[in-house]
């Protein structure tokens, strides 16, 4: 069963008249993880933000975005707001800038959970602390009272995952959630993503440059290039038998890159 169906999504810049995302259609199946891969500027982020209707008003989007039976693109601003956070959650690329720099991170959790569940502060704190512990954040009570700049990118990323664990959205959209991290924290955060999927059983859209991570977590893959989907398929199949030249290029670019590293290591 499809939980999300994107049908002929078109995104146009009203200032320049340029079409940025060109009649893209795809579906996300219940409980699966769909990865979107593609070069920088290919329109991955805009596509995901279009699903949540978070693109600036200068970008005009048409097409249908069916979440269960509702067309998100036809909802009023208010109805759409109720979709964000709980039914459809998002995890940002850069934890460092995702929280208001002048508030302790706990403020965001309290505002978000208070808005969706109407819980009291003590309930929220208890729920968040439990979730934070489950993503390997120690001393969660102290962490809630820290400012974003006092925490590392990996910690903030795991805090967003912890919030998602409490919100239990049906769909999680993660836009390059590990790109801003060093290799070690990348692995930690990826482990928590797998934990998140296992715990919630949610469907997920996972954007990444890291084909290793994609292979690890995704069931299906979309390859995007200049606003179009050029190839799609199940992960294993796509990695072993890519049909499109561009996909082959992407995969071999990664191979040559790791060959290059191997060479460097051998030379030492």
């Amino acid at each position: 069963m499809n939980i999300l169906e994107v049908d002929q999504l078109n995104i146009k810049d009203t200032h320049t008249g340029k079409v940025i995302v060109d009649n893209v259609s795809f579906e996300l199946r219940q409980g699966r993880c769909l990865a979107i891969v593609g070069e920088s500027g290919s329109g991955k982020s805009l596509t995901c933000r279009a699903i949540m209707r978070l693109n600036p008003s200068s970008l005009h989007q048409t097409g249908r975005i069916l979440f269960r039976e509702t067309d998100l693109n036809a909802l009023s601003a208010r109805e759409m707001r109720n979709m964000r956070g709980r039914p459809i959650g998002m995890i940002m690329q850069n934890g460092m800038s995702a929280f208001d720099p002048s508030c302790v991170v706990g403020v965001h959790f309290r505002e978000t959970l208070g808005e969706h569940y109407g819980w009291s502060r003590s309930v929220i704190d208890a729920m968040m602390q439990e979730a934070m512990q489950s993503v390997m954040l120690n001393q969660p009570a102290q962490l809630m009272n820290r400012y974003p700049h006092e925490l590392s990118g990996g910690m903030l990323q795991r805090m967003m995952i912890a919030l998602t664990l409490v919100l239990k959205p049906d769909i999680i959209i993660a836009d390059e959630p590990t790109t801003a991290l060093d290799t070690l924290s990348q692995q930690e955060v990826m482990a928590q993503f797998i934990h998140l999927r296992r715990t919630l059983g949610s469907s997920m859209i996972f954007i990444s440059h890291d084909l290793g991570a994609v292979r690890h977590i995704a069931d299906d893959v979309l390859i995007m290039k200049s606003g179009q989907i050029i190839e799609r398929g199940e992960t294993g199949q796509l990695f072993t038998a890519p049909r499109h030249d561009y996909t082959r290029q992407l995969l071999s670019a990664r191979l040559t890159l790791s060959d290059h590293f191997r060479q460097l290591i051998n030379e030492e």
Binding site: L54, R81, M92, S102, H108, E111, T112, H149
Partner: protein, 310 residues
């Protein structure tokens, strides 16, 4: 936070000292001999060299520069700025009431400027690029460009002379404030509301706003977060604006015969009343340093990142 405040105050001390030295040096560079000023003010018909020498001795001007500076500093620390060369009155008695009058005008104007610029800045940022925003900015641009004495003349002619609603000069009741405050507000709010607007706008595209929306927070909550972050820039600008207004009331005070520092200082400069000029410059400089420190402290209170900076 307490530690931050103490550090901030300690850091201001060397700056204050440097300012006092600079003030003293600059005044002493003046080509006019203070003794001559005093003698002229006393109406002495023939000023002889002997008379000058004696007056210099009375004023302590015959002593070496450094000795005079130390004496002056020590006196200043006790708020004793000496006596006016012209009237012989204590400078502090002259300046004190004038300072209070100017501070009143400045604070009322500052409050008016802050309210006007925050309200206009927020409205224009939320309406950015639309007609309202563009016409407001155009109007502000024109009004800021009009010199304040021209504007003052125009407003006095209309409201005080033609309509006879408001007093033309002096400081009798709250109605005396209206025109001077209006003029100061017009000349500064145009500048500061742009600051509020642009810092609001630069925050609108930040990641935390996107994440707030993506988390389903209501627009109201998000706007409060944006405002909180935008006002950081604005707060320091406003605090720095207070001493700037303090110094620039000169024009408005002279137009409206406001019995403040601005009027007093112009008179002092014209008659070369050095002790009064020195004290005026020092008071302005000190208020710059003080308000700068206050603005840093307020900023540190709102922006946690700055607290560890100093």
């Amino acid at each position: 936070m307490g530690m931050y405040m103490i550090r901030r105050i300690v850091f201001a001390i060397p700056l204050l000292w440097a300012i006092s030295l600079l003030t003293f040096v600059l005044i002493n560079l003046s080509p006019m001999d203070p003794a001559v000023v005093v003698l002229q003010a006393q109406g002495v018909p023939v000023i002889t060299d002997e008379l000058i020498a004696r007056t210099q001795q009375q004023l302590g001007l015959d002593q070496p520069f450094l000795v005079r500076y130390i004496h002056w500093m020590a006196d200043c620390l006790q708020l004793n700025f000496g006596n006016s060369y012209i009237t012989g009155q204590s400078v502090w008695l002259l300046l004190g009431p004038a300072l209070v009058n100017t501070l009143r005008l400045t604070l009322v104007s500052a409050v008016s400027i802050i309210i006007v610029s925050v309200v206009l800045g927020v409205i224009c940022a939320l309406q950015a690029g639309r007609l309202l925003d563009r016409s407001m900015r155009m109007l502000a641009f024109i009004l800021t460009a009009v010199p304040s004495y021209g504007l003052a003349a125009l407003l006095i002619w209309y409201f005080s002379v033609r309509l006879d609603w408001l007093p033309t000069s002096g400081m009798e009741s709250y109605r005396s404030y209206i025109l001077p405050v209006l003029i100061i507000t017009i000349s500064y709010a145009g500048l500061y509301f742009r600051n509020v607007r642009s810092s609001m706008l630069s925050n609108l595209n930040k990641d935390y706003v996107l994440y707030g929306r993506a988390s389903g927070l209501p627009e109201r909550t998000i706007t409060l977060h944006i405002l909180r972050n935008s006002l950081q820039v604005a707060v320091s600008i406003f605090c720095m604006a207070i001493p700037i207004i303090l110094g620039s009331t000169v024009v408005v005070e002279n137009v409206f015969a406001w019995p403040g520092l601005g009027s007093l200082s112009v008179r002092a400069i014209l008659s070369r009343d050095f002790p009064v000029i020195q004290a005026y410059v020092l008071i302005l400089a000190v208020s710059f340093v003080i308000f700068n420190a206050i603005s840093d402290m307020i900023n540190a209170a709102i922006n946690p990142k700055l607290r560890n900076g100093l």
